[in-house]
């Protein structure tokens, strides 16, 4: 394939190491109740259910004697998708001493002991026709795993293994990963986990291909996109994609950006040789999320399943408690899941309470990571709600003395077909189910249900991000002028929460492209061990973001939902770096290291002008 192809692009990219930096560092409190012989472990974690299993396995405490609570958790970004020694140590000490043990890390400790993310060297090749149509993809990835393996250290890069072809077509696909141990903090999941790295490789490489064949970055993408589809479709990377219309998000993003005007402005500045040049960069990404079909996880040697669970109890007075198995740390599950149940049962949203993050209140679950909460946990909630409706239908039919098929259900009320005044509401049925005075033979009392959902496939959000930057060619400083994100994350339950996820993710991705880098010296000392030296940007350094939206329902699940937690960090780094390169392409710059610090940009310009590196 690569030997015969008329055009071959071969690129090398370094994905720098990053520190996840949740606003709340890790904190653990282990408290024994000597009278009962049991323990409660509070941990600032994303995964209370998995932590509980690990603790019982490690310490020999029976599962019935341990309650794990993830209280309001101040962010994780993957760094709390982990079982940490301090959790087990605190619990072991509490067990031995019979006293509560509390441990909280400082920011510096968080930087030194909580896992890091990214850190790859990529070799990315594209084989293409003379006109730029891609035939094949080949990626060789070297991954710095750190000093030892943590929960999914080797699995993290593999989560990107299937999307090195982005949303594009082609026949051949090969990826190869080599993990290396180094004297550094282990790397593991960090918002996007493997997919930002893959997206960076393909979105940089396709622009390199565009330059090589003399095509516009928009044109090269349009000619390589998979055609619109609403039925499962195979990708070169071996996935069965759920639904997609890739060109549509790009068209919308171009319009929101005002592409033509920016191109004119760019031309004027180039002609005048101005110190501040502008550039436009694209990223039309495709990702896979919603972890995950348990069988797929088995093939990746992941130790847990990918299902999730929910229980719903309708009280005699018509109030609803939803026990969800996912464990939010800022994603707004209480709101979104209440919306789902409110709509399914026709119960006012204020009468729906959602519990989570507590193994006593929500005993079954696989927690929150990999943009799975809506497309796995949310579907489990919906299925549990539909089971409530089906049980309620039996009771309503019995009470109204009609066949179940003669009932219509709408907005929380069963009515008899053709006799709309004959009706039963969910609260009425819940009361009847509680008194159990008049239930159908064999039906259990109470209106409640549980569901566990194991998805058969991933979900595949996609979209088009465009970034316009201004680069000071004298100082190397980069400023983001405008950022447009048009994402298709399937059906939207709560637009405000979705917008917040996209904005936060994009900003974190801009930080990745321009600011954040964990640096070690040759002795293995972390030089960026504080918030002063590790450059997390603040509000004053990031732009406002223009959002568009496309809404193609997923065919993987009956809610039609995909996932949105990671799209921003997956999409944005190549958009920003491509924009920086575009701004300087007139000066001969065709590569940019990341993060694109002022000094790196200044050196790239000097190199292109024929000076020293």
């Amino acid at each position: 394939m690569f030997a015969d192809a008329p055009v071959v692009v071969k690129e090398r990219y370094v994905i720098q190491r990053q520190i996840p930096t949740p606003i709340e560092t890790r904190s653990v409190l282990a408290a024994p109740s000597p009278a009962q012989g049991d323990f409660t472990l509070w941990s600032s974690t994303q995964i209370p259910h998995i932590v509980k299993v690990a603790m019982t396995l490690g310490l020999g405490i029976s599962e019935s004697k341990l309650r794990v609570i993830a209280p309001r958790v101040g962010g994780g970004f993957g760094s709390k998708l982990q079982v940490y020694p301090e959790e087990m140590l605190s619990l072991a000490l509490a067990k031995r001493l019979g006293r509560p043990i509390k441990w909280t890390e400082t920011r510096s400790e968080n930087y030194l002991a909580t896992h890091h993310g990214r850190d790859q060297i990529q070799e990315m090749e594209l084989a293409a026709d003379q006109d730029g149509r891609i035939r094949g993809y080949r990626a060789r990835i070297l991954v710095n795993m750190g000093g030892y393996l943590m929960i999914i250290t080797p699995g993290t890069p593999l989560l990107g293994a299937f999307v090195y072809c982005g949303p594009y077509g082609g026949e051949a696909y090969q990826v190869e990963f080599t993990g290396v141990f180094t004297n550094t903090v282990p790397t593991d999941a960090y918002r996007g986990a493997g997919r930002p790295e893959a997206t960076y490789a393909i979105e940089r490489a396709i622009e390199a291909l565009a330059r090589k064949v003399g095509k516009d970055p928009v044109e090269i993408r349009r000619m390589n996109f998979l055609q619109p589809f609403t039925e499962p479709t195979a990708s070169p990377g071996g996935l069965q994609l759920d639904s997609g219309n890739y060109g549509e998000t790009l068209d919308q993003a171009l319009e929101l950006l005002g592409y033509e005007d920016l191109l004119k402005e760019q031309q004027i500045r180039r002609e005048h040789g101005e110190a501040k040049q502008i550039g436009i960069g694209f990223s039309t990404y495709l990702e896979m999320c919603g972890l995950a079909p348990s069988r797929v996880l088995a093939s990746l040697r992941y130790a847990a399943g990918g299902w999730d669970a929910a229980e719903i109890r309708v009280s005699p007075t018509g109030k609803v408690v939803v026990a969800a198995g996912t464990s939010p740390h800022g994603q707004g599950h209480a709101t979104t899941f209440a919306q789902i149940v409110s709509e399914d049962l026709g119960i006012p949203i204020e009468d729906v309470e959602v519990t989570f993050g507590d193994t006593e209140l929500s005993p079954l679950g696989m927690d929150t990571y990999g943009s799975r909460s809506i497309s796995v946990g949310g579907v489990a909630v919906h299925r549990a709600a539909m089971k409530v409706v089906e049980k309620a239908r039996k009771i309503a039919a019995h009470e109204l003395e009609v066949a179940e098929d003669d009932l219509e259900f709408d907005a929380g009320t069963f009515t008899v077909r053709g006799a709309p005044d004959t009706a039963k509401t969910i609260p009425e049925i819940a009361f009847a189910a509680w008194t159990a005075h008049n239930l159908p033979d064999g039906l259990e009392p109470n209106l409640e249900s549980s569901a566990a959902y194991d998805p058969e496939n991933f979900v595949f959000p996609y979209g088009a991000h465009i970034c316009a930057v201004e680069v000071d060619t004298e100082t190397g400083e980069v400023g983001v002028l405008k950022y447009v994100a048009v994402d298709d994350v399937g059906r939207i339950i709560n637009p405000q929460i979705v917008d917040g996820q996209v904005q936060g993710g994009v900003i974190q991705g801009i930080a990745e492209a321009l600011f954040e880098e964990a640096v070690y010296d040759e002795n293995g000392t972390l030089l960026t061990g504080t918030l002063t030296s590790y450059q997390v940007p603040a509000a004053s350094e990031v732009p406002s973001i223009t959002l568009g939206r496309s809404e193609t329902w997923s065919t993987t699940n009956e809610l039609g939902v995909k996932g949105v937690g990671e799209t921003g960090t997956i999409a944005s780094p190549p958009a920003v770096i491509n924009a920086v390169i575009d701004a300087l392409s007139d000066l001969g710059v065709s590569d940019m290291e990341r993060p694109a610090t002022p000094e790196r940009v200044w050196r790239a310009i000097r190199r292109a002008r024929g000076g020293a590196a």
């Binding site: 400082t106 510096s108 004298e474 100082t475 400083e477 600011f515 640096v519 030089l527 960026t528 002063t532 030296s533 450059q535 940007p537 603040a538 004053s540 350094e541 610090t597 002022p598 000094e599 200044w602 050196r603």
Partner: protein, 276 residues
């Protein structure tokens, strides 16, 4: 992250503060604490006694005095930035103060603390050096002396202050009629300057240019000033910006990059000062 043990006294007067300093070699003045406390938390500073002067209200003021603007050492950065007297009579001082740290730092940190800390990456020492400001230092038995900024900032974290002296006032000349510029190159609003440039020009006085974070103390860009005095245009003069400097290399940028950056920033600062 936890400081070594120390004693703490809140001074009721400057005299008492000096007396306390005189009685303990390891005593340190604390005002806003925004430079000292981070050092203590990292145990890079381990004073045995902290003498807190932050309640001495009579050290917080901005007023015209004898043809100069006198700024009390305890004046918070926020109040320096928003002083109408400074905005009118020495606007470069007010502007530079508005760039220090973030709003929380500016409401607590003081101009005196910034000067007494003598960090070459701080903005205010550079501005005072360019202005030819004077600093008033009080010592035991009511003694008082005035030091020029050029003499006061002796080296890295080395102000011209004996262990039993207190910086009480900063006196800046009025810059009426002079153009000015302070350019602070930093990546995040709350960061220190990677490089900073203070420039003053016009009104029949030779241009003054000083540099932040280009050596162990704030530095006058002597080569630039010399070139300008010889009639060079700003762009040509700015090429000598890094003469006599020894900028640091760190994770923010290399010394080589800072040298080049200083040339660009000096040119831009001069152009701005001359057009103002």
């Amino acid at each position: 992250m936890i400081p070594a043990p120390f004693d703490y006294v809140r001074a009721e007067s400057v005299d008492q503060a000096i007396e306390l300093l005189s009685g303990n070699d390891d005593a340190k003045i604390i005002a806003g604490g925004h430079s000292l406390l981070p050092l203590m938390r990292l145990r890079l500073a381990r004073p045995a006694l902290l003498v807190d002067i932050s309640r001495l209200a009579d050290l917080a003021y901005v007023r015209e005095d004898d043809g100069q603007v006198a700024i009390g050492a305890l004046t918070r950065h926020h109040d320096v930035a928003n002083s109408e007297a400074l905005q009118e009579l020495a606007p470069i001082v007010a502007y530079a103060a508005s760039l220090i740290g973030d709003p929380q730092v500016r409401h607590v940190g003081t101009i005196g603390g910034s000067c007494a800390h003598a960090d070459p990456a701080s903005d205010m020492p550079t501005v005072l050096l360019a202005l030819g400001a004077e600093l008033v230092v009080l010592g035991p038995k009511g003694t008082s002396r005035r030091v020029t900024a050029a003499d006061f900032f002796k080296g890295l974290f080395q102000p011209d202050l004996a262990s039993n002296e207190v910086l009480s006032e900063i006196r800046v000349p009025k810059t009426t009629g002079r153009g000015w510029s302070y350019l602070k190159f930093h990546r995040r609003a709350q960061d220190w300057a990677m490089v900073g440039v203070a420039a003053l020009a016009g009104n029949g006085i030779g241009p003054a240019v000083a540099l932040t974070n280009m050596g162990e103390r704030p530095l006058r860009a002597a080569g630039v000033e010399e070139a300008l005095a010889g009639g060079a245009d700003p762009a040509t003069a700015a090429e000598r910006a890094d003469e006599g400097t020894s900028p640091p290399s760190d994770t923010f940028g290399s010394a080589e990059y800072r040298r080049e950056l200083s040339k660009v920033l000096v040119r831009r600062a001069l152009e701005e000062a001359m057009s103002r």
